[in-house]
């Protein structure tokens, strides 16, 4: 880890949590705000969000651009984010490696496109244009999918790595999305993590989900943001911290079925512990290696 670099942990800001967050803001290093909910806000309301960003670093998180598509992202959506970034002055903004519409069809959900060279090229074009319009590149998040996208010639880690390398963009690694895709499609989660472009990961999401079942009894893990992050997600966070040389900004996401606020702050603290354990493991390994070299001589 770079000297002076510092990991941070925060929470996704939600209206249901606003009062508790306000009263305990010192417990968080960063807050993440869902950008699309603010595109139609008044100037006065945006000024309050900007005031919040002066008290604590704020990251904007978009869900409606559909950047990872062979189709071109609409200019109006990039302009909306650009205006919000200009008014709120967040420290970063992020979006998803997903498509959300096709032609006149609005899916209303983050969907995995076919993972192929054509969507790599389309994503890179959209991301570069988004960066030019907004003024900074987005941090890009992997998505969970219940359906392995057809017409795919690339595995997910390879597809993600190609896009981020070509766009020179950072990654928001959602560890529950990674875990769900690993569980659902028969991958070892730790190996799946190692296959991702970890040198590009600057941000992390933690969330939870539940098993869902078809009428025929087929089970899949759904990333619903309505449950606590499971133990494997914290284990993946520790593993990431042991491997990464980047400072990591970790955000706990919860969209409903809220537990007591003390439960959420305990999960934030558990993330801090996982990060510290991972960093300590990396430090132990790097301190051992030079002695091994000396002994070999």
């Amino acid at each position: 880890m770079d000297e002076g670099a510092r990991d941070r942990v925060g929470l996704g800001w939600r209206p249901e949590l606003a009062a508790d967050i306000h009263m305990a803001i010192e417990r968080f290093d960063v807050l993440e705000v869902l950008a699309d909910n603010w595109f139609g806000a008044s100037r006065r309301e945006l000024s309050l969000l900007r005031a919040l960003s002066r008290d604590i670093p704020v990251a904007l998180h978009g869900v409606g651009m559909g950047l990872a598509s062979a189709a071109r992202t609409a200019e109006a959506r990039l302009d909306a984010m650009a205006r919000l970034v200009e008014r709120v002055a967040p420290e970063s903004w992020s979006e998803h490696l997903a498509f959300v519409r096709s032609g006149d069809i609005e899916i209303g959900h983050l969907c995995a496109p076919p993972r192929c060279p054509e969507t790599v090229d389309g994503a890179v074009r959209n991301i570069r244009r988004a960066g030019a319009v907004v003024g900074t590149l987005p941090v890009l998040e992997n998505v969970a999918t219940l359906l392995d996208p057809p017409a795919s010639s690339l595995g997910e880690p390879d597809w993600v790595a190609r896009i981020l390398k070509a766009a020179a963009a950072p990654m928001l690694l959602d560890l529950h999305n990674l875990y769900a895709n690993a569980v659902n499609f028969g991958h070892d989660a730790a190996a799946y993590l190692e296959a991702m472009p970890l040198d590009r990961v600057t941000h992390v999401h933690l969330s939870g989900g539940r098993l869902v079942t078809t009428g025929d009894g087929v089970e899949r893990l759904l990333d619903d943001h309505l449950h606590d992050p499971p133990d494997p997600v914290f284990e993946l966070l520790e593993r990431l911290a042991a491997r990464s040389t980047m400072s990591l900004t970790v955000v706990l996401e919860r969209d409903g079925a809220y537990p007591g606020f003390d439960v959420l702050t305990a999960q934030v603290q558990r993330a801090r512990v996982a990060l510290a354990r991972g960093r300590a493991a990396a430090a132990r390994e790097s301190s051992v290696r030079p002695r091994s070299v000396r002994c070999a001589q």
Binding site: W13, R14, P15, E16, A18, A19, H22, L34, N37, W38, A41, S42, R44, E45, L48, L49, A51, L52, S69, A70, A71, F99, R101, S102, G103, I105, E106, I107, G108, H109, C111, P113, P114, C116, E118, T119, G122, T145, L146, L147, D148, P149, P150, A151, S152, N184, V212, T214, G215, D216, V218, R220, L222, D224
Partner: protein, 82 residues
């Protein structure tokens, strides 16, 4: 290859129950409206039906849920108004 058209088929599958029923009955016929390669049609025909069922169920539940408005909550909170 036309990834854009594959995205179109997926979008229709996720949102249009009538199209989805036609597709599940005869995928190749249902895909005629798009400019797809034979390989793409074959891949779509062997789509993960369990995943599709669960994805559609989740999306329909999400569409049925009311959208939230966080802005007023923050304004009310920080201005002391309820």
């Amino acid at each position: 290859m036309s990834a854009r058209d594959v995205e179109g088929v997926l979008a229709a599958l996720y949102t249009n129950a009538e199209f989805r029923a036609r597709f599940l009955a005869d995928p190749a016929e249902a895909c005629r409206a798009w400019n797809l390669s034979a390989q793409e049609v074959a891949s779509l025909a062997s789509i993960d039906r369990a995943g599709l069922e669960l994805a559609v169920r989740g999306m329909e539940a999400k569409r049925a849920a009311r959208p939230r408005g966080p802005v007023r909550s923050l304004f009310a909170l920080l201005s002391g108004r309820r």
